[in-house]
Symmetry: C2
Subunit: 334 residues, 2 copies
């Protein structure tokens, strides 16, 4: 058992932050003092941890030299403002925003060996939920397939955009069912019973930040810097759980038997047989694994492998992966 560590969770009142605090408890992470931080708005509220109420404080006035490890789950702006401050104060940072240029993307199932090369204090990214799911599913297949291209269509839950987005889907749905006029607030239009073609704004080339982040992180996680990855992220009216339709183009025929065997053997994957399929609600949500189903060739194309992934975006996609990275860090170095 490791020595207890003093820890900070930034964004502790958010979707990811709340889940993270729960998971620290569930996995019996060796926590010494736990500092929960958020904005002025939530300062003073409290969150339960290990049977005790922990007061939430403002991040602005926090002295990061008090902690050895900080989880940043308060969005890009907060990571930009405070992560390097924390790091300079001698604190290892596990960031969930993807905003830290020099941080190393880590998913224990995909690239655990990267931990050995880190200098302390470490600067680590827990990748986007889609990148985590893809890395978990593709890492066991890397040795089996000569991968030429990965094509991804990700249908993201509204919780991928935080608590407010969850409230907005519930509110819009209730208004529509009660035949009241719809007034979009968080999203710029109706999300209830609709599909939005993009998640967040797009850049001059038409790509959204989540799409660019996924490509960058997946290449790093699979250690395939030149991998062709084609990706579209869309917003579906689902509260929790991301779904990914994936086509892997291989340079030779895909042996489905071997693929199924490798997926079956992976501890963080729940493989669903061909007569069934996994869904976010009912399967993935609340679970710690990546569900994989619809394992098949392309139509008339034995060189193509098709997969369907679904995962809890707040757990394995975010909070759980971050805590597991923390465990890895503890085991090796911290």
């Amino acid at each position: 058992m490791s020595q207890p560590l003093d820890i900070a969770v930034i964004g502790a009142t958010g979707s990811v932050g709340e889940t993270l605090v729960q998971i620290l408890e569930e996995l019996e992470f060796p926590v010494g003092t736990l500092h929960l931080l958020a904005s002025m708005e939530s300062a003073g509220s409290s969150v339960m941890f290990a049977g005790k109420k922990v007061r939430v404080r403002e991040v602005d006035s926090f002295d990061f030299s008090q902690v050895k490890l900080a989880f940043f789950a308060a969005g890009p702006a907060v990571s930009r403002s405070f992560a390097s401050k924390a790091h300079a104060a001698g604190c290892s940072v596990i960031d969930l925003s993807g905003e830290l240029e020099h941080a190393v993307a880590l998913v224990p199932e995909a690239n655990p060996e990267q931990v050995a090369g880190l200098s302390l204090p470490a600067l680590i990214t827990s990748p986007s939920a889609s990148a985590v799911a893809l890395a978990v599913a593709l890492a066991p297949l890397k040795g089996l397939l000569d991968i030429e291209r990965v094509q991804v269509m990700a249908s993201l839950a509204v919780s991928a955009q935080g608590k407010e987005a969850v409230g907005e889907l519930a509110r819009q749905t209730a208004e529509l069912l009660n035949a009241r006029p719809l007034e979009p607030r968080f999203f710029d239009r109706q999300i209830a019973f609709n599909v939005l073609a993009q998640v967040g704004a797009v850049d001059a080339h038409g790509h959204s930040a989540v799409e660019r982040r996924l490509v960058k992180e997946l290449r790093a996680l699979l250690d395939m810097p030149a991998l062709k990855i084609s990706v579209s992220c869309v917003q579906v009216p689902v509260f929790f759980g991301d779904s990914l339709s994936v086509a892997v183009q291989s340079r030779g025929p895909v042996d489905l038997g071997a693929v199924n065997q490798a997926l079956e053997a992976a501890a963080s994957i729940e493989l669903v047989e061909a007569d069934d399929y996994p869904t976010p609600v009912g399967d993935a949500v609340g679970q710690d694994v990546v569900y994989v189903g619809r394992v098949r060739h392309g139509i008339d194309e034995p060189e193509q492998l098709n997969l369907w992934l679904t995962t809890d975006n707040l757990r394995k996609g975010a909070a759980l992966n971050a805590v597991q990275v923390g465990q890895l860090l503890l085991k090796h170095r911290l």
Copy 2:
């Protein structure tokens, strides 16, 4: 103006059939006597056409020699049982089920020239909604791109599975919002706030009938019998309007300016500029065009063209295309 034609609509009380009767009126199709047919269940009910009530009768006892043209919109089993009977009685058939082996798939925007080669009475398929949308969007690009592969992820509305599916999404959503226990009926699990990885059952190779149908029909419509098409169709909690995320792999760099120009020039396409994007609700539903947005290269891949399509699955995807095929048939031969 053509001579009025005596016409039958089979499945006139269904989602597609009702829309079809409306569109015959909207487009002033030259209808003589209109025969509306369905199952025993709806026989005796009536549907409005051109200001008059038309009684619905049972298809089983209908004499097809009374009509010159029949639209089949009552599902695969009915097409299998009655379409060849109708055809043998001298009636041209426009089938929406995709079940007729020797029928020619037609989308006026894609392969109108096929009409000239038909012998009468004609046996025609109005393709699946996704195949129609793809054909409309890709036909203007065929001359511009050296297409190697088309990758499609289709998010289908529940209405793609008929009236009962629409009712089920509404019922499930209301039950969830009222915190009542959920009992799936039409779908085998929760569809509200969920995504189902497949639409209908899959075959021994893992492909669903809608996926196989899309590949077969799109190859025919584009007259590219060997085109590589990779497709996943999933079910989203949307009432009306299909959405397609499309990646077209070209053998050379894609000229986005030329692509935008070709799409802009196509009469059945509404091109949405890069600072916006189209959605089923709010844009496509109730409209007669295919909406195209998010026109962009792949990330780091100028040889890839990405598109987002959305279309009213009951109108351009089904009823409207069928009536437009009827117009083409009239103009050329019937």
